[in-house]
C-alpha cells in the first residue's frame, strides 16, 4: 500500500540556510502524525513542500503515492491544508467561507450545502451561519477552518500549528474534530509545539535544525529517552540534538538547539517565525 506521506532526502535551502535537510519520512494512511520541532526547525517549510507551496531544492516526496515533482496538480486534489494563520476570510460570513472552500475545490453546490450544514451543526454554529467570521471566537474559527480544509474529504490533511493562541479547552475540542476526521479515513499530518497535543498523535517525529532526530509513538519515545512526559522527551531530544535520544542518528551534535521554553502551552502564541524568510512580511 502507498504511504500517505513519504519523503526521501527532501531538502530545502534558502540561500546559505538549509531549512529542511535531507528529510526521510513515511506516514501510513489513516495515521495521526505529529510533526514536532522547535521554532525554526523547518516544520513549516517541510509542510509547505508537501502541499506544493514551495519547490524542494533536492530530494523527492510522494503524497498518496503521487510524486511531488511530477504530479503536483493531482496531489492538490487529494490534500487539505490549514496554515497557522487559519485562512478564513474575516469579512465573509461563516456560510460564505464554507461555500468558497467547497467552490475552489470544485464541489457541486448541493454537496457544499449538505456538507456545510453538517459542519456548522457539528460546531454548534447553525444559528451563526450568517455572522461575519471576524465576530466568531478564535476557537470556533480554528475549528471552522479545519472543517473548511476538510470539506472536500481530502485523503491527507496538513495542519500547520492549527491551535495557536487558544485555551486548553478549545484545543481539546479542536482535537476531537481531528479525531473525527481521521476516523473517516483521512490521514492527519499536524505540526504543533504543544506537547500535550503530541500525546494525542499516533506517532510523532521531532525535528531539530532541519532534520528528524526522533521518530516513534509517544510511548516508544518516552521509553527510549526516559522522559515521563512528551515535554521531557522533547527537551531531551532537542537538547541532545538527537544523540541522547538515540532513536535516529543525528547529523551533528546540535547541542542546545534553540528550544528555550518555546514549547510550553501558550508560549509565543503558537507562532513560528518563518525559516529563511519565505514570506518576508512576517518579519
Amino acid at each position: 500500500m502507498d504511504h500517505a506521506v513519504k519523503a526521501e532526502g527532501l531538502t530545502r535551502r534558502f540561500g546559505d540556510f538549509t531549512a529542511v535537510d535531507r528529510l526521510d519520512l513515511a506516514v501510513a494512511p489513516g495515521e495521526i502524525f505529529g510533526f514536532l520541532g522547535a521554532n525554526g526547525a523547518g516544520k513549516t517549510t517541510a509542510i509547505r513542500m508537501f502541499c506544493g507551496l514551495l519547490a524542494p531544492s533536492e530530494g523527492e516526496a510522494w503524497i498518496d503515492g503521487l510524486s511531488l515533482s511530477r504530479s503536483a496538480e493531482a496531489i492538490k486534489q487529494r490534500i487539505g491544508y490549514m496554515s497557522q494563520r487559519f485562512s478564513l476570510y474575516d469579512d465573509l460570513t461563516i456560510e460564505e467561507n464554507i461555500e468558497f472552500s467547497g467552490g475552489i475545490h470544485g464541489m457541486p453546490r448541493a454537496e457544499i450545502r449538505r456538507v456545510g450544514a453538517a459542519l456548522t451543526a457539528r460546531l454548534g454554529l447553525e444559528r451563526a451561519r450568517g455572522r461575519l467570521t471576524r465576530e466568531v471566537p478564535l476557537g470556533f474559527k480554528q475549528r471552522l477552518a479545519l472543517g473548511c480544509a476538510a470539506l472536500h474529504r481530502p485523503r491527507i490533511l496538513f495542519l500547520d500549528e492549527p491551535t495557536g493562541g487558544v485555551d486548553p479547552l478549545a484545543r481539546r475540542e479542536f482535537w476531537d474534530l481531528i479525531y473525527e476526521t481521521a476516523a473517516e479515513g483521512t490521514t492527519v499530518f499536524v505540526t504543533t509545539h504543544y506537547m500535550d497535543e503530541a500525546e494525542y498523535c499516533g506517532r510523532v517525529s521531532i525535528m531539530v535544525r532541519g532534520r528528524i532526530t526522533a521518530l516513534g509513538s509517544p510511548a516508544q519515545l518516552k521509553r527510549q529517552t526516559g522522559g515521563a512526559t512528551m515535554e521531557e522527551v522533547f527537551l531531551r531530544v532537542v537538547e541532545g540534538g538527537g544523540e541522547r535520544g538515540g532513536i535516529l542518528p543525528a547529523a551533528d551534535g546540535a547541542g542546545g538547539a534553540s528550544a528555550n521554553g518555546a514549547m510550553g502551552p501558550g508560549a509565543n502564541g503558537g507562532k513560528e517565525p518563518n525559516p529563511g524568510g519565505a514570506r518576508g512580511e512576517e518579519a
Binding site: 507551496l53 469579512d91 467552490g103
Partner: protein, 389 residues
C-alpha cells in the same frame, strides 16, 4: 469554470461588504472629472489688459475699441506713460499691456485703404507671425506677464488673434492684410473639457483597474489566505481571472460614470460609435489588468502595491501620454518614454471616436492588444501556483 465563479463570487462579496471603498472607487472618478474639467481649463476669460495709447488718433482709438470688444479681454484701465507699465505689472493690475505707438494712425492711413477686418468673437482665429513684425516703429506692441509661462503663451496667441481681427499688420504697405481664418473642426469652441474628459477616462480606467487588482491580490498574500488557495487545485488563470472580474465591472462602471458626467456637465459630444469605444476600451482595460497583476506578483504588501500602482499609472498617464501636454511637442526622450504608456495609444482612439467619429484605429488597437497579451501572459506566468516569487 465552477472554481472561477467561486472566486469571482467571493471577490464580489469582499467588495460589497466594504461599501465605503466601493463608494470611493465610484465617486472619486466622477469628482476627478469635475475637478479636471474645470481645473485644466486652457481657455482664457477676462484677461485684464492695460492700454497705453501714444498715438491718440482716430485709428488708434478704433483699434483699441475693437480689441476690447473681444469677449476674453477685460479693460483694466489706461496708462499714461511707459514708466507706469512695470509698476502696474508688479501690482498685478494687468496681465498684458498693449502699446499703440505714435504714428500708428499715419501708417494705417498710408496702407492703401485696406479694410480692417472684424473680429468674429464666436470663432477663435489663429494668426500668422507676419501680423506683428518687430521692426516697424509704428507697430503695436504687446507686453505680457511671463511669470506664468504657459498662460503667457495663451495670452499671446489670444491677443495676436484679437489684433489680427481688429487692425491689420501695418508692415507690408499695399499688400492685402493677412487674415488667416482658421476654422477649427470638431471642437470649434476649443472647449478644453471636450479634450480632457475622454483623456480622463484613460487615466481613471488604468488607475482604478491596476490599483484595485493589485491590492486585491496582495491583500490575500498579506492575510495568508493566498497560501490556502494555492494548495487547492485552482489554476493560476482561474484564480487571476476570478479575482479580477469584479474589478473589471467597477472599472467599466467608472468609465460610464465619467462619460456621463462629461456629457451632462461639460456637454462632451459623442460623434462615433459606442460599440467601437467599448471594444477599444476593453482592450485598454485588459492592459490595465495585466499591469495590476504584474504589480501584484512583485509587491508583497498592499501598501507597496498601492504605491507602485499609482506611480506607475497616474503620473505617466497624465504627463507623458498627451493627456495634458501634447505628445508631439515633447522632447524625444519623453516621447520615447511615452510610447510605452498604454494611454498614449488609447487617447487618440477615445478622442477620435468621441470628437471626430472615426471608428477604425488599426495601429493603436494592435499596440494595445499586444500590450495586453504580453502583460497578462507575463503576470499569469509569474503568478504560478507557488508562494515564492
Amino acid at each position: 469554470m465552477k472554481r472561477l465563479l467561486a472566486i469571482a463570487r467571493k471577490e464580489l462579496r469582499h467588495i460589497l461588504r466594504d461599501p465605503r471603498s466601493l463608494l470611493v472607487a465610484l465617486v472619486m472618478p466622477a469628482a476627478m472629472v469635475v475637478l479636471y474639467g474645470y481645473g485644466i481649463d486652457t481657455e482664457l476669460r477676462d484677461l485684464p489688459l492695460g492700454i497705453l495709447d501714444e498715438d491718440r488718433t482716430e485709428a488708434s482709438r478704433a483699434l483699441i475699441r475693437r480689441v476690447l470688444a473681444s469677449e476674453f479681454i477685460r479693460d483694466a484701465g489706461r496708462i499714461e506713460r511707459r514708466a507706469e507699465i512695470e509698476p502696474a505689472f508688479r501690482r498685478e493690475r494687468f496681465r498684458a499691456v498693449m502699446v499703440v505707438p505714435p504714428g500708428y494712425g499715419e501708417a494705417e492711413l498710408g496702407s492703401s485703404g485696406a479694410r480692417v477686418s472684424r473680429a468674429d468673437p464666436a470663432r477663435i482665429q489663429a494668426l500668422s507671425q507676419a501680423s506683428l513684425p518687430a521692426s516697424n516703429q509704428a507697430q503695436v506692441q504687446l507686453l505680457i506677464d511671463g511669470a506664468d509661462a504657459s498662460t503667457a503663451a495663451i495670452v499671446e496667441s489670444y491677443l495676436r488673434a484679437a489684433l489680427a481681427g481688429a487692425g491689420r499688420g501695418a508692415g507690408e504697405a499695399g499688400a492685402p492684410p493677412a487674415d488667416p481664418r482658421v476654422r477649427i473642426l470638431f471642437n470649434p469652441e476649443l472647449e478644453s473639457a471636450h479634450f480632457i474628459v475622454p483623456g480622463l477616462v484613460a487615466v481613471i480606467l488604468i488607475m482604478i483597474c491596476a490599483l484595485l487588482t493589485s491590492i486585491a491580490i496582495t491583500r490575500e498574500k498579506e492575510t495568508g489566505t493566498m497560501e490556502q488557495v494555492l494548495t487547492t487545485p485552482v489554476r493560476p488563470a482561474q484564480l487571476v481571472l476570478g479575482k479580477v472580474a469584479p474589478y473589471l465591472l467597477i472599472a467599466i462602471a467608472d468609465a460610464i460614470l465619467v462619460l456621463a458626467v462629461g456629457r451632462i456637465v461639460f456637454h462632451v459630444p459623442m460623434r462615433g460609435s459606442w460599440g467601437a469605444l467599448a471594444g477599444y476600451s476593453f482592450l485598454y482595460l485588459m492592459v490595465a489588468l495585466g499591469l495590476g497583476l504584474l504589480i501584484s506578483t512583485v509587491a508583497r504588501s498592499q501598501r507597496v502595491a498601492m504605491t507602485v500602482a499609482l506611480v506607475a499609472t497616474m503620473l505617466p498617464t497624465i504627463i507623458l501620454s498627451g493627456f495634458v501636454f501634447p505628445f508631439a511637442s515633447m522632447p524625444w526622450p519623453l516621447q520615447a518614454l511615452g510610447r510605452v504608456i498604454p494611454a498614449t495609444y488609447y487617447l487618440p482612439i477615445i478622442r477620435g471616436i468621441m470628437l471626430t467619429g472615426r471608428a477604425w484605429y488599426p495601429l493603436e488597437g494592435a499596440v494595445l492588444a499586444g500590450m495586453a497579451v504580453l502583460l497578462l501572459a507575463l503576470s499569469i506566468r509569474r503568478f504560478g501556483t507557488r508562494l515564492e516569487a
